[in-house]
C-alpha cells in the first residue's frame, strides 16, 4: 500500500527561505534510508506559492476562476511530498515519525495520507453497498 507524507508549507518556505544545510543533510540521509529499505517511490519539494496558480469552480458548470499566487495561510499549502510503498499503515506511521522535523521553527507538520489503489477506485458503487450490507449483517449476527 502506498502513502504520501505531505510536508506542510510554513511562513519560511512561503517566503522562499531555503532550509539550513543541516536540515538538507538530515533529509538526504532520511531519503537514503528510505531507498535502502526499498520503500521510497518518489519525493519532491515544491516552490513557494509565489508563482503558483489556483483554479477554482465557485459556480458549478461555469468557467473556472483563475487566481495567481502568492497565497496566504501557509498551513493550507504544501511544501513537498514523499511517496512510499509499505506493508501496513503502522509502517507508514513509523517512517513518517522518522522523518526529520521538516522546518525546525515550530511550524513543522507532516500529514500522512493513504493513496487510493486502483481496485478501490474501480470498484463499483453497487458492490461497495453490497459489501457494506454484508458487513452490517455479519456484525448483527455476532451480536445476536
Amino acid at each position: 500500500m502506498r502513502f504520501m507524507m505531505i510536508v506542510k508549507a510554513t511562513t519560511d518556505s512561503e517566503a522562499g527561505v531555503l532550509p539550513s544545510q543541516e536540515l538538507i543533510d538530515a533529509m538526504q540521509k532520511y531519503n537514503e534510508e528510505l531507498v535502502k529499505a526499498g520503500v521510497l517511490l518518489a519525493a519532491d519539494g515544491l516552490h513557494s506559492s509565489a508563482n503558483a496558480v489556483r483554479i477554482s469552480y465557485p459556480e458549478p458548470g461555469s468557467k473556472p476562476k483563475v487566481v495567481d499566487g502568492p497565497f496566504t495561510e501557509a498551513k493550507e499549502m504544501i511544501a513537498g511530498y514523499t511517496l512510499i510503498e509499505v506493508k501496513s499503515r503502522e509502517e507508514a506511521i513509523e517512517w513518517a515519525l522518522r522523518m526529520p522535523d521538516p522546518h525546525g521553527n515550530g511550524q513543522g507538520e507532516i500529514e500522512l495520507r493513504q493513496v487510493f489503489e486502483m481496485e478501490e477506485l474501480m470498484e463499483s458503487p453497487e458492490s461497495r453497498v453490497r459489501e457494506e450490507a454484508l458487513r452490517r449483517k455479519a456484525q448483527e449476527n455476532t451480536k445476536a
Partner: protein, 422 residues
C-alpha cells in the same frame, strides 16, 4: 497508546528492523540461526517493556543493543572467551546506544548484503533459498510463506530449519564473494529474487493468477539490493524488470479474475510511476558501462512494451533484436520461442511460425503449454483456424493454472467458430 496498538507498532518495527538485526548479529556470532534467536529475544524483551516505557526514539538501535548484550552474555556463558569475544567487546565500547544507528549504517548495509549472499548460497536447494530469504530478509512468518506457495506451514518451517543447519555444517562464510565467484553468486541471488517475483506474478498452479505478497516482497528486496550493491548492473537490471512488470500487475486480470494478455491490456491503467522507476533503473544499469546482462536485456524488452502507447506502436524489430542478444547470453528454447513471437510480430506470422516449427522437436519444450499456445496464435493470424483451435486445446491440457486454461479453451472455441464460418 493502548497495549494492542503498542503491540501492532512493535510488530511493525520488528518487521522493519529484523533483517538488519539478524544481519548484524550474524556477523557477531557467525551463525544465522543463533542470530535469529538473539534478535527474537530482543523482540520478547521489547514486547515486555515498551508497553510501559513507551517506544524508544531509535527502536532499531535499541533492539540491536539489547540483542548484542544477549549475544555477549551467551558467548560468556559458553566460555567462548576467545578472539571472537574480544572483537565483540571492542565493538560495543566503540558506540553508545544512541550512536549505534548512525555509526553502523555503512556496516549494516554490508551485513545485509552478506546475509543475502548467505541465504541464496548454492549449497542450499532452490526451495530452501527462497524460504530462508523470505524469512530472514523479508521478515515474513512461516505461515505467510506457506500461504504464498500453497504449501503446509510445517513444510516451510522444516525447510528453514534444515537450511540454517546446512549453512552451519557446510561452514558457509558470512561474506560478499569477490572476483569470478561474485558474478556466479550474484546471479544466484538475483535468481532467487526473480523466482519469488515470478511465483507471485504468475502462479504455476491454483485458482489465483497473481499472488501480490510475493511480488511486493521481491520488488522491495530487489530495490534494496540495487541500493546496497549499486555497482552491479544486473542488480539494477532486475529492479528495472520487476518495476516495469509490476506496472502491469493490476491490468493483467479482469473483474472475473481471468487473465488479460499484454496486447489486450488497457495501457491507460499501467502504473506510470513504476514504469518511470523501471526506466530510471535501466538507465542506471546502462550507465555503469558494462555489457548488459540477461536481466537488463529482459528489462529493455519490457521497456519497449511500457513506452508503446498502443500495441501497434510496439517496436517489435528492437524486441526481436533484444531476444537475439538474450539468446547469446542465455541460450534457451524458451527465449527462442519468445524471439519467434517477436519475429512474427515484426515481420509477419509466417516467419514466426517457421521458427516455432523448428522448436517443435525440442525435447525440453515437450509439455510446455506456451509452445502450442504460441503456435495456435500464429496459425490463427494466418487464418488456419482449425489447426489453431487444436493447438489451443493442446495447450489447455498442459497448463496447471485454471484461469489460464479457461482462456486457452475460450480461444480454441473462438477458432472453431471462425473455422466454421469459412
Amino acid at each position: 497508546m493502548s497495549v494492542s496498538q503498542t503491540h501492532r507498532t512493535i510488530d511493525t518495527i520488528w518487521r522493519m528492523e529484523s533483517p538488519k538485526l539478524i544481519a548484524g548479529l550474524t556477523r557477531m556470532v557467525r551463525d544465522v540461526g543463533l542470530a535469529e534467536d538473539l534478535a527474537q529475544d530482543a523482540l520478547v524483551i521489547a514486547l515486555a517493556r515498551w508497553p510501559d516505557t513507551g517506544i524508544p526514539d531509535k527502536p532499531g538501535a535499541w533492539l540491536m543493543t539489547t540483542a548484542k548484550r544477549r549475544a555477549i552474555d551467551l558467548l560468556r556463558r559458553n566460555k567462548l572467551r576467545d578472539q571472537k569475544y574480544v572483537e565483540i567487546a571492542r565493538e560495543i565500547q566503540l558506540y553508545t546506544e544512541d550512536e549505534v544507528d548512525h555509526a553502523l549504517d555503512g556496516e549494516i548495509e554490508d551485513d545485509l548484503l552478506r546475509l543475502i549472499f548467505m541465504t541464496c548460497h548454492p549449497v542450499l536447494s532452490q526451495d530452501a533459498r527462497v524460504a530462508l530469504t523470505l524469512r530472514l530478509l523479508c521478515g515474513l512468518t512461516t505461515d505467510e510463506i506457506a500461504r504464498s506457495f500453497l504449501i503446509a506451514e510445517s513444510t516451510v518451517a522444516q525447510r528453514i530449519v534444515r537450511a540454517k543447519r546446512t549453512l552451519n555444517t557446510e561452514k558457509v562464510p558470512f561474506e560478499v564473494p569477490v572476483g569470478q565467484e561474485l558474478a556466479e553468486r550474484l546471479s544466484a541471488v538475483l535468481e532467487v529474487i526473480y523466482l519469488m517475483f515470478n511465483e507471485g506474478y504468475s502462479a504455476t498452479s491454483g485458482q489465483n493468477w497473481t499472488r501480490p505478497l510475493l511480488c511486493q516482497e521481491a520488488l522491495r528486496l530487489g530495490r534494496v539490493l540495487a541500493a546496497i550493491a549499486p555497482g552491479e548492473p544486473e542488480a539494477h537490471g532486475l529492479a528495472a524488470l520487476m518495476e516495469i512488470q509490476s506496472s502491469r500487475l493490476k491490468t493483467r486480470i479482469n473483474a472475473q479474475g481471468e487473465p488479460i494478455l499484454l496486447m489486450d491490456q488497457n495501457r491507460a491503467l499501467w502504473d506510470q510511476l513504476l514504469i518511470r522507476r523501471g526506466l530510471a533503473a535501466l538507465d542506471r544499469a546502462q550507465r555503469l558501462g558494462r555489457t548488459l546482462g540477461p536481466y537488463a536485456i529482459q528489462a529493455s524488452i519490457a521497456a519497449c512494451h511500457a513506452v508503446a502507447h498502443t500495441p501497434s506502436d510496439t517496436d517489435w524489430i528492437r524486441i526481436a533484436a533484444l531476444y537475439e542478444a538474450l539468446l547469446r547470453q542465455t541460450p534457451s528454447p524458451i527465449v527462442e520461442l519468445n524471439r519467434a513471437v517477436a519475429i512474427g510480430m515484426a515481420f509477419g506470422p509466417a516467419y514466426g511460425l517457421q521458427l516455432v516449427d523448428e522448436l517443435n522437436t525440442e525435447p525440453s519444450l515437450q509439455g510446455y503449454h506456451l509452445l502450442p499456445s504460441v503456435r495456435g496464435d500464429l496459425l490463427q493470424k494466418l487464418g488456419r483456424f482449425e489447426e489453431a483451435g487444436a493447438e489451443f486445446e493442446r495447450a489447455a491440457g498442459m497448463t496447471r493454472n485454471a484461469r489460464e486454461q479457461a482462456l486457452l479453451l475460450r480461444r480454441a472455441a473462438e477458432c472453431k467458430r471462425e473455422g466454421g464460418r469459412t
